[in-house]
Structures are given as C-alpha cells and as structure tokens.
C-alpha cells in the first residue's frame, strides 16, 4: 500500500511540474492561436537569470529572474510575434520555432555548452518521510507552486477586469475587439503571464537539477506541447488534465515496464499520446469553438 501511495506522490510531483509547463502554452494558444515553441527558451532564460543573480540571496534572485523572464516574454511577443499576428497557426508555430532556435544558439554563444551550477538552499534538497512514504522537497515545492499559480490564475481570470478581457478574447478575439478590448494589451498581458509561468518552472527545474544550460528548455516545451495537445488545444482545463495524465503516465510506465524496455519509455508514452489523440482528435477537453 505504501508503495502505491509513494508512486502517487511521485506522479503528483511530476504532474504539477508538467501543469506549470503546459498552462502558459495553452493560455497563449487560446489568445492568439500560437503554439509557442520558444516557451522553453523563456524557462532557459529564467534559469540563467537565477544563475546570474544567485550570488544575492535566493528570494531576491528568484524575483529578479522572474522580472527578466517576463521582460523577455514581452520582448519576444513585440519583436517576433506581433508582426505575424493573425497568420495561420502553422506560420505562428514556425515563427516560434525560429525564435527558439535563435535564443538557444545565442545562449550557447554567451554561456557556452557546459552547464552553469546554481546554488540553492539545502531546504529544498531534503526528504520528508511520513508513514513510510518519502516526499522530496522538490515534490512539495512543485505541488505548492502549482496550486498557488493555478489558483492565482483562476482568481485573476474570474475576478479582475483584465482577466475577464482575456477570457473574452480567448472566446472570440474579433468580437472582443469590437466591444472595445485592446488587443495589444491583452496579448502582452498573456505573454507576461506565460513569462511568470516560465519563471516559476525555471525555479523548480533549477532547484531540482542545480544547473542552467542552453538546451534545457527543449524537453519541458515538448512536454508542454504534448500535454496541451492531448488536453485539447486552447482549453485551460484540458491542459491541466493533459499534464496530469502525462505525468502519471510517465511514472506508470517507469514503474511497470521491465528493465530492458525501460529505456524506451518515451516511445511508450508518446505512443499512448497518439492513441489518445486518435480517439479524440480535438483533445480530451475540446476548446469550445472550432478554430479555423
């Protein structure tokens, strides 16, 4: 029994991290039909931010890194995505692909390929044991931050004028503009929020791994991609469900596969994703309207 609970705890930790990765991607897609491949590079920028400011106390470093990621997200939107806004989702996706490639190589040029160590307080590298179940510090951090961020976002979207404008824009962008919502403001705001998400995810990844490197955004963004796709592009709750399933599925395959097949785990995970997608082409929770 403790074994099962242990796996559930592990899955919860991973699912929380995945949710923090997937939500911002889903949010941006909802507003402007952009599947942002460069979201991973925002995480990378956040991690390097932590590396640069790590010498100061951690809370301040985390804050400064967050500010940098948000600024980077805004700059990205302004420089690369605004000029192509309104193009087909495929064009937008290709644009983000190019931005991602650009930033990754720029980071390689600036910081080199060797990972940069970031010192984090030992508080997060401890394990709590409750009734035979081990809970890692990172798991507590991931779950805690995910709950805070998702809760905060829900309240923001439901209670503030800006949040309601965002929801309206996600529902029907043209209509939202007609009733006087300013497109630029809404889109910039959404990117800023996605920047916050990337910054938080960067913090967790750095606490977990202790380092920052140029290609670190790649795996997270693929996870975010797949989770949002599985959940239903543009659907907020779908992204959460997709992330939870992907996290749980990864842990499940890791536990259940025999050793010889374990190194092929990813193939099984993505195969399962494909099956889900074939059964429900629009995702588990389809967005409310067909986007053409």
């Amino acid at each position: 029994m403790t074994e099962i609970i242990q796996h559930l705890v592990d899955a919860a930790g991973l699912a929380s991290l995945y949710a923090l990765l997937a939500l911002p991607v889903a949010l941006v897609y909802g507003i402007m039909n952009l599947v942002n491949f460069a979201h991973g590079e925002l995480i990378m920028i956040g991690a390097y931010g932590l590396f640069i400011f790590a010498a100061i106390t951690l809370p301040l470093a985390a804050f400064l890194a967050l500010v940098i990621v948000v600024l980077a997200a805004l700059a990205m939107e302004r420089a690369a995505f605004r000029p192509v806004r309104g193009s087909s989702p495929e064009t937008l996706l290709v644009t983000s692909f190019a931005v991602s490639f650009l930033l990754q190589n720029a980071a390689l040029m600036i910081f080199g390929s060797r990972p940069k160590s970031v010192e984090t307080p030992s508080l997060f590298s401890q394990t709590v044991t409750i009734g035979g179940v081990h809970i890692e510090g990172v798991t507590i951090l991931s779950v805690g931050l995910a709950v805070i961020c998702i809760g905060g976002l829900v309240i923001f979207m439901k209670r503030t004028a800006f949040g309601m404008a965002m929801r309206a824009a996600a529902e029907d962008f043209t209509m939202a503009r007609l009733v006087g919502i300013r497109a630029n403001a809404v889109i910039s705001g959404t990117f800023a929020i996605s920047g916050v998400g990337a910054g938080v995810a960067a913090f967790i990844l750095v606490v977990q791994g202790g380092s920052a490197f140029a290609t670190m955004g790649l795996t997270p963004v693929i996870i975010a991609f797949v989770a949002t796709m599985m959940g239903g592009l543009g659907s907020f709750s779908g992204a959460l469900i997709g992330a939870a399933l992907l996290g749980a599925g990864t842990v499940a395959f890791d536990v259940l596969l025999p050793t010889q097949l374990r190194s092929s785990r990813e193939a099984f995970v993505y195969g399962a994703v494909l099956v889900v997608l074939l059964i429900r082409p629009q995702g588990l929770v389809p967005a409310r309207r067909e986007r053409v």
Binding site: D10, L14, E119, F124, T139, T219, R262
Partner: protein, 404 residues
C-alpha cells in the same frame, strides 16, 4: 505573370550561382592537402567542435595542443619543420565533422586532431583516411578505436573507458571494502554503457554482488522511479556505480542525495572538474576517475607541469581532460614523426603502433595493430567530500575487461 515575384526568384538564383562560382574559384586555389608535401611546415588540422555540446571538451584540447606546438616551434620544429595550424568547426554535428575535415584537408592538413567522441569523430576520420592522413581524437574513450572497426588511420589519445570502470571496481572493493554494488547506466552515450559493463564484470570477478541495475535518460525531468527502486532494496548498496555525465548525471546525484540515499557513488571522468559541484551542495562520498589532478598535487610531475603552463596561458581549465590529452596528441605526433620521418599514414601509423607504454604527459600510452586507444592506462581517483574535491591517488587497474 507578376514579374516582381519572378525577379526575386531569378535574382536569388543568380546570387546563388554567382556565389557558387566565387566559392569554387576561391577555394580551388586552396587545394593542397594530403600527406604528400615533405618540406616546409607540417600542417595540423583541428577538425573539432568550436560550438555545440562538445565544444567544452574540444576547446581545452585545442589549447593544450597549441601549447605543445608553440614549444616545438620555439625549439625549431620537428626535424626542422615548424608546425602550422588550420582549424574548422564541426558544430558538434556528424555532417559538420565531415565538412570540417574536408576544409582542413583542403587547407593542406597533413595530420588531423578530431573531436572528443567516437561517433562524432568517425566522419572526420573516414575523410582523413581517404586522404592518407592520420587522425587522432584527444579524449574519446570508446574502445571502438580499433583498426577492424574504424580503419587504420584513426587513433584516440584518451583512456579506454573500461579502464575507468575496472579501476572503480577494484578501488571500491579494496579500499572502500564494499561488497554490494548497484549499477545505474544512462544509455545516452556509448561510453557509459561500456564503462557500466566493465564495472559489472570486474566487480563480479572480484567476488562482489550486483544487487540491482537500472537506467535513466539524460533528459528525464524526474528520477523518482529509479529512487523508489533503490529504496525498495532490503538494505542500501555499499556503492552505486553511476555511468552518466553532466548535466543529467549531476541532477541524478542531486536527486539521490536529496532522497537521503547516502551510499558512496562511483563515477567516470565525465564528472571531472569542480564546475558542477555547486549543483550538489555539501556532496560527500562521491568518487570519480580523472586523467590527472589539476591542483598541482598529481603524482606525475609531467601532469603538474602541463597544467601549470596551461593555467598560465589560458587560465585554469574547467577540467584537465582536454588540456592534457590535446597536449599529448602533439607529443605523440612528434615522437612518431621522428621515427617515421614523414606524416604519410603508411609510415606514421606503424610508428604510432610501436608505442608501448610510451611516456607522454597524459601517462603511458600503448597502441598496437588492433587497438588504437590505450586500454590499461592508470587513472586518478578523485573524491568529493563536503563539496570539496581532492586527489585520492593513482590507480593502476590490475585487469581490464574487454568490452566491445
């Protein structure tokens, strides 16, 4: 037809053609190449990674090589021939490795130093081979540098990685008095599989038990499954052999320690250098192999000398592997050239194959007709205690399993 569109196309094509023509003219004059020329300077081509993941291994190797080249040139060259250097970037890419080799060959390379990995250096070696040029990787550790695998002209100055696995097995069994071991392999790169296999085999020969094996992937976002399996053991293993490399390997160590698993960890020279130590604050009982100690306390004076010269010129390197092995590549070329009297592969290869425990800065070096990499060179064991690195000592493996 709207002609602005077509004008774009045509202009584009015209530019492309013009560029091809210009490039064709430009580089056809450069064509020298081959091992033919016997007078004038010896041209060494560095077809190494200046960008991408391997740059951090190759760059110190190039610097180390240049250190020895400058010394040789200051003394009047090898047999009176000075050394000239030409360089090209492989971009840590397989096709890039071929292009870089082509480029240095076109610029007259008569000897080639290639990238620090078997897979990614193979295309360069094949190109070198077709030009009758010898190619040597500074620090690739794969035992596949064999004439029946890669052909006659490819060499590596590195230490075959089974020596590292075997040394760790002997060290843990004799010095740490360990009886049980748990082996975790990250199958992302070939040498980790080889070193894991060598450790396992040597461990069993020494009468130890393997209480479990597991794998993880370099890109994994969480290692909870591997940690759970380790915890499920009736009692923690005496040692954990970890065949991986940073950053994934470092994240794994961090997760292990965070999970309260305190068994000593044994690892390869991939973990050399102190740049990653801050990622696992307060790490203890971690042992990895190395090519030499960077802190001036190496038992071999030659290592300390090279490291001191390197540090003076380029600053302290993040790891010593590249610096030492790059330096020794040029040492080896000098020794072999003095015997062969030429860079031509047909004579230089036999001269290199005569190396038997040849004393180079990197350590005793042996090549033979089959193996073009040293398989039984002593390694250094470096320990990390309370986040600080220190040298344990030199370890000469008594027996190195043959791993293919």
């Amino acid at each position: 037809m709207a002609s602005p569109r077509l004008r774009t196309i045509t202009v584009a094509i015209a530019i492309a053609l013009a560029a091809t023509v210009l490039a064709a003219c430009g580089s056809s004059s450069e064509e020298g190449g081959g091992g033919g020329e016997e007078n004038g300077p010896i041209t060494i081509g560095f077809a190494t990674a200046q960008s991408g993941a391997f740059a951090s291994y190759d760059k110190p190797a190039v610097d180390g090589a240049k250190l020895e080249i400058e010394k040789i040139n200051a003394e009047g060259g090898i047999d009176g021939r000075k050394i000239k250097v030409v360089e090209a970037d492989t971009r840590t890419d397989i096709n890039g490795a071929r292009e870089a080799a082509d480029e240095v060959l076109a610029n007259g390379a008569q000897f080639m130093m290639v990238t620090c990995d078997f897979d990614y250096s193979t295309p360069s070696i094949v190109e070198a081979q077709s030009h009758n040029v010898v190619a040597m990787s500074p620090c690739a550790g794969s035992t596949k540098f064999r004439t029946d695998v890669i052909g006659p002209n490819g060499f590596s100055m590195g230490t075959g990685v089974p020596a590292e696995g075997a040394s760790q097995a002997e060290f843990a069994s004799e010095k740490l008095k360990a009886k049980t071991a748990y082996v975790i392999v990250d199958p992302t790169i070939d040498i980790d599989k080889q070193s894991g296999a060598a450790f396992e085999q040597r461990w069993k020969e020494l009468g130890g038990t393997i209480v479990g094996t597991d794998v993880f992937q370099q890109e994994d976002q969480s290692f909870s499954a591997q940690i759970s399996r380790l915890r499920e053991l009736p009692e923690p293993p005496d040692v954990i052999y970890l065949a991986s490399y940073p950053p994934g390997g470092v994240r794994f160590v961090r997760s292990l320690r965070a999970a309260g698993i305190e068994s000593p960890i044994l690892a390869e020279s991939n973990f050399d250098g102190s740049y990653w130590l801050k990622s696992v604050p307060g790490l203890s009982d971690f042992y990895h192999t190395a090519y030499g100690s960077m802190n001036g306390d190496d038992p071999e004076p030659a290592v300390n000398q090279v490291m001191a010269e390197y540090t003076k010129k380029y600053g302290k390197p993040e790891t010593e592997i590249g610096a030492l092995s790059g330096y020794s590549v040029i040492e080896a070329l000098k020794r072999a050239y003095e015997k062969a009297g030429t860079t031509e592969a047909s004579k230089l290869v036999p001269a290199l194959e005569e190396f038997h425990n040849e004393k180079l800065a990197i350590g005793p070096t042996t090549f033979d007709k089959l193996n073009h990499i040293t398989l039984d060179r002593p390694v250094r064991i470096i320990q990390v205690q309370n986040g600080k690195e220190s040298l344990v000592g030199l370890w000469k493996p008594k027996k190195v399993p043959v791993i293919e």
